[in-house]
């Protein structure tokens, strides 16, 4: 019927019809989705494709490369100022470190005495953020370290201020991490002041975490520091996660509505640290053994 309107259309359709192609493609992509959702079997394909599409991602981040070039041209005076500031900061930190070394040794000795195993010093790998997720509802970042650098799935990610997230997928040269503010992310925490354990969940807002599981009589205050509790085995214990910013008590509700501000700088900063040895059990036992040896040589006061 349409043939007189559209001369493009061939009289005899060669190859499968459009509807058949549609059904084929839809079935294929549904199968992909099902496989990707319920199994890990597609991860190699995904990471191969991601490596192949790397140039596109690199090109997409060119505006930032250009901005970085601008930084190369910053004036000498600025650099000198920055240098001075950094020197001072380094001095301060070194000063604090002296005490830290003593405290760490003491802590190790005491822990060894208690025969508890806790790792105080983790190995770090510095990574750079290549890009952030363009989906505003998903908080992912792409890092410039991949499988070749020893990055593994589930590896914790911190910045200078606190826990940032964890690695969720690893490619050959890059990896992507889930930020703690992603709505799919939860992290076991404890209140630093009294050790109260709970879970902090992301909400999809970069400056807010929610703590939905604390009962109305829980001992929390605004300004309390939340640190990772290490339960669940994914994050090392004792790193800052956030600071409690709001507490709402709705009369008649059993749970408090508590919000916390993430300690890590989720919106800025380029360099992040990947915590290397999170295999807490094996590593820390070895460390505790090491620590107990010098402890015995130290004369008791």
């Amino acid at each position: 019927m349409e043939s007189y309107r559209d001369d493009d259309k061939p009289l005899f359709i060669r190859g499968p019809s459009l509807t058949l192609k549609l059904l084929l493609c839809l079935t294929l992509s549904s199968a992909l989705m099902y496989a990707d959702h319920s199994t890990d079997s597609l991860n190699p394909i995904r990471s191969t494709l991601a490596t192949a599409l790397g140039p596109i991602e690199w090109l997409a981040s060119t505006p930032r490369h250009i901005k970085d070039m601008g930084q190369h041209l910053s004036s000498r005076a600025d650099l000198l100022d920055e240098n001075d500031g950094l020197k001072q900061e380094r001095l301060l930190l070194l000063g604090r470190m002296q005490k830290m070394a003593a405290l760490e040794a003491e802590n190790m000795r005491i822990r060894a005495l208690l025969s508890s195993s806790k790792n105080l010093r983790e190995e770090m790998l510095i990574a750079e953020i290549l890009g952030t997720s363009n989906d505003p509802y998903r908080h992912h970042v792409k890092l410039n370290k991949g499988e070749l650098d020893g990055v593994f799935e589930g590896q914790p990610l911190i910045d200078a201020h606190g826990i940032l997230g964890q690695i969720v997928s690893v490619n050959m040269l890059t990896s992507s991490a889930l930020i703690i503010t992603d709505p799919n992310h939860s992290i076991p925490v404890e209140v630093n002041r009294n050790g109260l354990r709970t879970i902090a969940q992301g909400q999809g807002q970069l400056d807010r975490l929610i703590l939905p599981y604390l009962p109305a009589n829980a001992d929390v205050q605004e300004g309390d520091l939340l640190v990772s509790s290490g339960l669940g085995g994914r994050y090392p214990a004792g790193y800052p996660v956030g600071v409690i910013s709001e507490i709402h008590h709705h009369p008649g509700e059993e749970f408090l509505e508590i919000y916390a501000k993430p300690a890590a700088q989720t919106q800025h900063g380029r360099e992040v640290l990947l915590v290397q040895n999170v295999d807490v059990k094996t590593e820390s036992v070895a460390k505790a053994d090491e620590a107990s040896a010098p402890a015995s040589t130290v004369p008791a006061p």
């Binding site: 839809l26 596109i56 997409a60 930032r64 989906d135 509802y137």
Partner: protein
Amino acid sequence: MSRKDHYPGYIVLLSLLVALILSHMPLPDPISAARPALVLLVAIYWTQFLPTAFGLLAAMLLGIMVDVLSGSLLGQHAFAFVLICYVIAKLRDSMRMFPWWQQGLVLAPLLGLYEFILFWMDGVSGREADTMWRWLPIVSTALCWPLLCSLLLPFRSTVRH
């Protein structure tokens, strides 16, 4: 006498590449919710104007690329791309009746369907998130259509034979 549109081959690849790059460029937070679905728009353009070269399989492969780049469920964008391109292929003759600046309006409901499919898949796979601004890309993508047409139409050469 039949009419056939021709485009240089490189322009098809280049447009797809540029769309892929642009749609993964970082945007400031306040406007990132309104990021237009440029890759889909370019796919729609070629489905409509160059149906012999750009079929459903190409749409699916493009969708998989978007899935990989955006880290979504593998096949999610592919599914939506295939469905939308199928509808466009079916509507091709009717779409030609409209001047190209009105075609943007015709596209809006389709883009709504696209966003809904993505949203629905997100929900099914347990990745649901804030939904308040999910409709913004529909508007921004429809607004980009005249722009895309004015960019690509100059490359068209019509052959009559």
